[in-house]
């Protein structure tokens, strides 16, 4: 754990030191080449704007209007159908929010943790879920947007299957480890 934290802390400085140094030793004109590469930064950032705006607007309207709460309410009976423990239904809003919005999901997770306590079953489950998957919609919009891809093919399906697997695995492992 501490070793990993240290690696994370040193990774970027090491990268910043080693790459230019090795490049210099291999006779690359370091500054000139760096600047040529850096030129691409501006356009890449600008290109993702329409995709981000489109995705963020739809997501924020969905969340702020309360439609997300209604969806969470509609999903509840499914949990009963599978005979899962009742308090699990409290985690539904987080499960829906997680792939949509990073800041939104963090807000919901923080709320669950403060309401039920960080060391409760729900608190630990929310923590595990928050750390175990990414904001699939946001990432797809940004990454595909940067290269002008409009047809995602099966990418969204694939991302959501991974998210659902992460969710089920979270419930399983937290029940198993912490009971």
């Amino acid at each position: 754990m501490n070793i990993i934290a240290e690696i994370s802390r040193w990774a970027i400085p090491a990268f910043l030191l080693l790459v230019p140094l090795v490049a210099y030793l291999r006779k690359v004109k370091v500054y000139e080449v760096f600047v040529t590469g850096a030129e691409g930064g501006f356009w890449t950032a600008v290109k993702i704007i329409p995709y981000l705006v489109g995705m963020l607007v739809a997501i924020k309207v969905f969340v702020d209007s309360g439609a997300i709460d209604i969806l969470a309410y509609l999903v509840k009976p499914v949990f009963g159908f599978f005979g899962l423990r009742q308090d699990l239904t409290q985690i539904i809003p987080l499960a829906i929010m997680r792939p949509l919005s990073g800041s939104g999901a963090l807000g919901v997770a923080t709320q669950i943790i403060s309401e039920h306590g960080p060391d409760s079953f729900l608190g630990r489950l929310a923590s595990t879920m928050q750390g175990s998957t990414d904001t699939t919609f946001f990432v797809l919009a940004m990454y595909f947007g940067s290269v002008g891809i409009k047809k995602y093919r099966y990418a969204l399906k694939l991302g959501l299957i991974a998210d659902i697997t992460g969710l089920v695995a979270s419930v399983y492992i937290v029940s198993k480890v912490f009971g």
Partner: protein, 195 residues
């Protein structure tokens, strides 16, 4: 599928707002989100430039190729459509590594660079390639060894052991990643699966 989901989010949001008599929410949220989209993109410019500059250096020094070669057995399996030694491989490896270490600031520029390289290989131009789908599946499910943000939240909420969820998180994210790799393999075998 993305068209249907996008429309669903927007339409259901507006209907719910209208039925609950809070239609103003739609206007305010839409405007705020549009502004946020630009802010996120603009705030990326500096970091993007820094990492793209370094990436170019690493490429010219032959480091990206060396990295791709070192992990070739793995990348052969996941990305059979990408020629060996292609710069896309190095950029994808750097992106996943940065994700694993929780270095979000570095991960995004590497990832966008990888997409740029993948797009050069992509014939269809406005349609995702198989390699892109595989890469994004890995990216969005990638293991984070230390979920730093949530640990901070737990600490603040007075947890007796804020880091006790690291193990469960790694397990869950590992399952997600395994599922992503496996299902992606199925999709690729089915060739041309549309949605």
């Amino acid at each position: 599928m993305v068209n249907a989901v996008w429309l669903f989010l927007l339409v259901s949001g507006i209907i719910v707002a209208a039925l609950t008599g809070r239609i103003d929410v739609v206007t305010n949220s839409a405007m705020a989100a549009a502004k946020l989209g630009v802010e996120v993109a603009i705030s990326l410019i500096g970091i993007m430039s820094l990492w793209l500059g370094l990436m170019r250096l690493a490429e010219e020094a032959g480091l990206v190729r060396a990295l791709a070669r070192a992990l070739e057995p793995l990348t052969r399996l996941l990305f059979p459509s990408i020629p060996r030694d292609h710069p896309a491989l190095g950029a994808m490896i750097l992106n996943i590594s940065a994700n694993i270490l929780g270095l979000g600031n570095a991960a995004t520029p590497f990832g966008l660079k990888a997409m740029d390289e993948l797009q050069k290989l992509n014939q269809g131009k406005d349609e995702a390639s198989e390699a892109m789908c595989t890469f994004l599946a890995l990216n969005t499910s990638a293991i984070t060894l230390i979920p730093a943000t949530i640990i901070a939240v737990r600490l603040k909420a007075g947890s007796a052991n804020p880091t006790e969820i690291i193990g469960t998180t790694i397990f869950a994210t590992g399952c997600a990643m395994a599922a992503a790799i496996f299902v992606d393999y199925l999709f690729r075998r089915r060739k041309g699966g549309r949605s």
